[in-house]
Subunit: 334 residues, 2 copies
Amino acid sequence: MQHSPLYAGVDVGGTKTLMILAEQDGTILSEWRVASDAQTDPETFFGGILDELRREVAKQGRDVSALRGIGLGLPGVIGPAGILTHAPAFPWQETPVADILGQRFDGAVYLDNDVNVAALGEQWQGAAQGVRDFLMVTVGTGIGGALYLDGRIYRGAGAAAGEIGYSVIAPPAALLSHNGTAPPAAVASGDVFGQFEQIASGTGIGRLAREHLTRCDRSAVDASLIAQLAGGAPEAVNARHVLAAAAQGDAEALELLRLPLDYMAIGIANAVSLLNPAMVVIGGGVADSGELYVAAVRERIAALTPIATDVVAARLGNRAGAIGALAGVIPNRV
Amino acid sequence: MQHSPLYAGVDVGGTKTLMILAEQDGTILSEWRVASDAQTDPETFFGGILDELRREVAKQGRDVSALRGIGLGLPGVIGPAGILTHAPAFPWQETPVADILGQRFDGAVYLDNDVNVAALGEQWQGAAQGVRDFLMVTVGTGIGGALYLDGRIYRGAGAAAGEIGYSVIAPPAALLSHNGTAPPAAVASGDVFGQFEQIASGTGIGRLAREHLTRCDRSAVDASLIAQLAGGAPEAVNARHVLAAAAQGDAEALELLRLPLDYMAIGIANAVSLLNPAMVVIGGGVADSGELYVAAVRERIAALTPIATDVVAARLGNRAGAIGALAGVIPNRV
């Protein structure tokens, strides 16, 4: 046992990074969180992760050479050569993560985006065990999607597959162009593009609630369960408060969730019609806040597509990414 | 050459069936169309296709045993066991096509739905040659979709993948439910579901045009290029007349195409965001009617998703299905 190989799964976030050190059979030896210093340069950042992992290996009484592979989930697009782009949480542009790690570590490196590793995690140890075809959707600050098709992550032609957050749904009348060929001004100007994520994400739910409460008079705010849950301060309200109130049957919260739920259900239903997945796994902070959210999305989806699918809540919470990163790097995983 | 194996590609439609007889290298020996007798029983129907193919083999001066494989594209869902369901063009319910053919033919049989074989055809000899990831959309009487992902047709968990025609887009205000949990009445009643296909298909374009012209007075109908192309009879107008008029820059036709084009572009753009395909191939009668349609959809898509893709017209027209059925059955195809 002492000489058996070790593997690490790392879920890199803009503020926190979760690390898991495990045996090849998946037995977890250690699991811990460190602050992400997003302002540092990539070499220091990823070098720091390696140092952290090696310290933990030593702390476990093992030689650092026992660490044979590292899987990383990253908040951005990972190109085929292991180059990270589109990572708004970091000030970097094109970051050659595979090269940076390869210069400092000679074991296996597996890199993927944060939603893909969350899907791998749910498939290995969570809600999608044994499922060969599923869609993973994460609803938190933003909206993420991952496609697990025919037993593997499908990344698309440019490693950008899964962007259900870019869905265009329920466009306003302004969307519709006024001649047969030119794209409508509202579309070209971006009024429509991005609307889905702005409404259906946790950020969107929180914003809708704050906008609503600032339109209410003082007595209505005082009577608002949502505002009470946020300590009486409308400006402090976020999606969690809305979902907590809705879970108690609060009418105001249920009404506020209507549009975000309709949007999310339409976006997922369209993906279900297109992909015919056996399952849709919904994770992220909003979905993790309680069974109400997933149940409401599930009920709507059934009315929006004739293609049957199981709509379930993710099971691994914010550990899914690190567990999936581990799943991606452990060889011959059972 | 005389003793080399022969293969057949057959595209079964509700009114016509296209047959191709070819050598293993794809060289076409014969290509012909027969009427589909959709009212007969499945045994007679598929037995008739076999008889037709064997007659043609004999006509080519070859022994019937030279026919080693038959690929069929069918207008419905083909389950894993080769059972055809959801085929509205036929009065049959669950048709065991693989069994019926297997009892009468001992060569290889390849079965797939009509859009999947069209995608295979375009990938082999048409617009998507060398492309590993693309979405095929056919716009005709209805709307069909096929996913060619990572070098092969992706069928989903229940062999129903590709149903972009079920997309829900631009729902009316009635879609939005009035509480946080129940699906909206308009959705549950089907007012929204199916709307995409009703508007964006060729059938939808023709219906929109007929509805418009019946609202016009006699002088407006007389002045309408669309009506003229239909021989002056508004009730005879179909999508072809609208597209032909639009190709001449006719303002009425361009205005009528606005909504169907917006819907189609949104449906495809959402699929592009989800799948990140290298290419979208648009085929079917509407797309085949001229470059205007595909160009207008292409322009809109570029404004509706940040994921880049090539939007191109299909090249094989209504031969794509039979060519793709051939592609599906020829072994070790280069």
